[in-house]
Symmetry: C2
Subunit: 188 residues, 2 copies
């Protein structure tokens, strides 16, 4: 019974995170939490039991985003893809996630910088996975040595921020990231 209740709670938590992600993407981080609970199919009380404040919800969302990126990097490391392609695919996922809602690029950069942040552990794990992807491509001789994981992350998040600004054409993220990937490549 306790286990079933726990599984239920875990399921609700995931439904809430999914609904929050969609709502923040569509309406910004001021989106109605009542609507989030409604979309998740739970009551507002359940939402507040999991996430006492809007900040707690945003933080949990970011934490799960970092965890997904870490898992995605591990998957790419195990795949037969070219190391440089794998890095490009991962940075595309990072940038795509980072532009989900206004303010997210700032939050990611802050979490990376602040060692006292609750998110620092998941953030550092994400960066470590990126470092492994980068290192592999550098060892394969296709990506410039001397570039750090923090730099390629800053590059991708900076471009995600630029592509998120009003007036940016819909394909600008892919085009900017492609230029950045050319910049990371060893020429020839």
């Amino acid at each position: 019974m306790v286990q079933a209740a726990r599984a239920d709670a875990q399921r609700n938590r995931e439904l809430l995170l999914g609904a929050a992600r969609d709502a923040f993407a569509a309406h910004g981080t001021d989106a109605s939490l009542r609507d989030v609970a409604r979309s998740a199919g739970v009551g507002i009380g359940t939402l507040y039991r999991h996430f006492p404040t809007r900040e707690a919800l945003l933080e949990a969302l970011l934490d799960s985003n970092f965890e997904e990126l870490r898992a995605g990097a591990e998957e790419l490391l195990g795949s037969p893809r070219e190391p440089q392609d794998a890095l490009h695919a991962w940075l595309t996922a990072l940038a795509a996630g980072a532009r989900t809602y206004v303010g997210l690029p700032e939050s990611i950069m802050a979490a990376l910088a602040d060692e006292n942040s609750k998110l620092h552990a998941s953030c550092a794990a994400m960066r470590a996975s990126c470092a492994r992807l980068l290192d592999r491509a550098q060892k394969a001789g296709t990506v410039r040595s001397g570039v750090t994981a923090s730099e390629v992350i800053a590059l991708a998040i900076g471009l995600a921020w630029a592509a998120q600004q009003p007036g940016a054409p819909p394909d600008s993220m892919a085009r900017l990231l492609s230029t950045a990937m050319h910049g990371l490549a060893v020429p020839g």
Copy 2:
């Protein structure tokens, strides 16, 4: 007499803009306007005569920034520098200016996108100068064709934004921009 008064007013305006730029760089755009007037050596009344609101002052600052960038591009176009180097120098100036204070990268991107902005004319002139620098480097065969002026500007401003985030190492702007320049280069 009228001319002397006009020259005086023009001089005060420039002193105020210089003082505001320094104050916003040091203390953010909430910096005290009384301190700005004091640094410029004028009374607060003179400041408000030139700039009725803080927004008007920020707008004038941005306008003069765009004009300087346009003039800088023209100067580079007339210099004997390599076209690719000239573009790199100009993007460095753009990015350095863009990170002067928090919120400036956003304002620049907004001015570029909004055709109804008061800043649109100076912004478009700045972009046109960038296009001439870019075109020259593309014709020289050292910078990739198919990249637009809007894209290289978005690239530089995105990296300026990233380099402005807390925790970014002091040399990150130069390093990120160097990667971007490698990305713009025709390989080989």
